[in-house]
């Protein structure tokens, strides 16, 4: 876990969402996906597979299973300044079940994520309902998660985290070419929310470097609210323009804006090309500082760059190629897909200590990351 903290756990319910259907009144297609993912940036490399299988059981039921792995090699800025580079693995399994009853769809899912110092279990329930001749879909959902936190080298360390998530959604077909959606989600955490390996930095005139480290201390509760609006428009020559805006705020003082715009363009019957741009900015948590004035200067101290003031930009290019019809296995359609993302992260109050300088005057940290998604999909 270390500097990456429990952020890996996020994938648990994200994958749980992936095994959920997107719209009510229609069960998801029978399909299988085999994905290879790779993230490289900021001294961190994470890669591994993800496998998903979905299958209908009669007209009213559908099951989905996902298995996901991360192989992590980390020499991030946190690790370089506070610890030693490390390698680790994480395994995650999800199982989902959908039931269609008239225009109402019920979905339940369970996810277990396990790494050597962090275990997470998430259960979720989602309900969606089609209205007005299927022009409108309303949905609501609830997730509950239980995490166990341990610490390598400290067998006596054991902490827990409880999480609750509540979400509401509405999607609406507005015209024969335009559909829009609105989502609201509130998440509450309670328990050990900081990283047992990460430290906060404070000024210390008694040491040669001019600064020293103390363990991070976070509040034991956090509640966040996010609301997003998205839309997708069908262009007359057969292409799609899509966009999304999300506003985020939480009780730690973090505020964020996300904007994403994209364009999807088919080429003939076999190719689909896609390009997108994403902007993200956030303000820092109230208890975040790159350099505190002294030891124990306040009740809560944190130096997680994910809680600092920063902005990021990402461009995405993707291509989907539909293979010629295969004559075996009952396969209806198969595709090979490649998506590449390039991201830039610029921090406004997180300093690059290895670059040197007097405490608090080091250059501001920034890094770039490349993300690859290569996957094979089959519908049957």
């Amino acid at each position: 876990m270390r500097a990456r903290t429990n952020s890996f756990v996020l994938l648990a319910a994200v994958i749980a969402a992936a095994v959920h259907p997107a719209l009510a009144a229609v069960l998801p297609d029978d399909r299988a996906d085999a994905l290879y993912h790779r993230y490289e940036g900021g001294g961190v490399t994470v890669d591994g597979p993800s496998l998903l299988v979905r299958k209908k059981l009669g007209e009213k039921y559908s099951v989905a299973a996902n298995y996901y792995m991360d192989f992590v090699s980390s020499a991030s800025i946190d690790v370089v300044t506070q610890a030693s580079p490390y390698r680790e693995q994480r395994r995650q399994a999800s199982l989902g079940f959908d039931m269609l009853n008239g225009r109402t769809q019920y979905s339940v899912a369970y996810t277990n994520s396990d790494e050597n110092d962090y275990t997470a279990n998430t259960a979720s329930l989602d309900v969606s309902q089609s209205l007005f001749g299927d022009l409108t879909t309303l949905s609501f959902g609830f997730s509950r998660a239980w995490d166990d936190v341990s610490k390598r080298g400290d067998p006596g360390f054991h902490e827990t985290v409880d999480r609750w998530s509540y979400r509401l959604g509405a999607s609406q077909i507005l015209t024969p070419r335009l559909t829009m959606g609105l989502s609201l989600e509130t998440i509450s955490d309670q328990g050990y929310l900081n990283n047992p390996y990460r430290s906060a930095r404070y000024l210390d005139p008694d040491v040669a470097a001019g600064y020293a480290w103390e363990p991070e201390v976070y509040p034991s509760t956090r509640t966040s609210t996010a609301v997003s609006l998205d839309g997708r428009y069908f262009v007359w020559y057969r292409a799609a323009v899509h966009g999304m805006y999300r506003y985020f705020t939480d009780t730690w003082g973090v505020g964020a804006n996300t904007v994403r715009v994209g364009y999807t363009h088919p080429l003939g019957d076999r190719w689909i090309l896609e390009a997108a741009y994403r902007w993200y900015d956030q303000s820092a948590a109230d208890f975040y500082s790159d350099l505190f004035p002294r030891e124990d200067s306040q009740n809560f101290v944190g130096r997680d760059k994910e809680l600092s003031t920063f902005q990021s930009q990402m461009v995405t290019f993707g291509a989907t190629w539909q293979l010629p019809p295969l004559r075996w296995g009952g396969l209806e359609r198969t595709t090979v897909n490649l998506f590449y993302d390039h991201a830039l992260y610029d921090y406004a109050d997180f300093r690059d200590i290895p670059k040197g300088g007097a405490p608090g005057t080091e250059p501001l940290y920034h890094f770039s990351a490349d993300v690859l998604r290569l996957f094979f999909s089959a519908w049957f």
Binding site: S7, L10, D134, V227, F234, F248, T258, S312, D341
Partner: protein, 74 residues
């Protein structure tokens, strides 16, 4: 009639009105939404992975759109 009763009646009247709403985009006008390029979440495994990348690097979480997902975790 107090304000709460008026509000309840207003909501009931609105719902009754909704039940008779005629779809203004007819079924035969919706072929565009059946096109794969209009799918909000064409490839769920791929979308879930990139959403995870975002949330691992950013303080924000939830309301990711499309699947209405999120996580219930930090």
């Amino acid at each position: 009639m107090n304000a709460a009763r008026r509000a309840v009646l207003l909501v009931l009247a609105a719902l009754a009105g909704c039940s008779s709403v005629e779809p203004w985009v007819k079924p035969y006008e919706r072929q565009n939404f059946a096109d794969v390029i209009m799918a909000a979440e064409r490839d769920p495994v791929s979308t879930a992975y990139i959403d995870h990348v975002y949330e691992a690097r950013e303080g924000a979480r939830g309301a990711l759109g499309g699947h209405g997902g999120g996580c219930g975790c930090n």
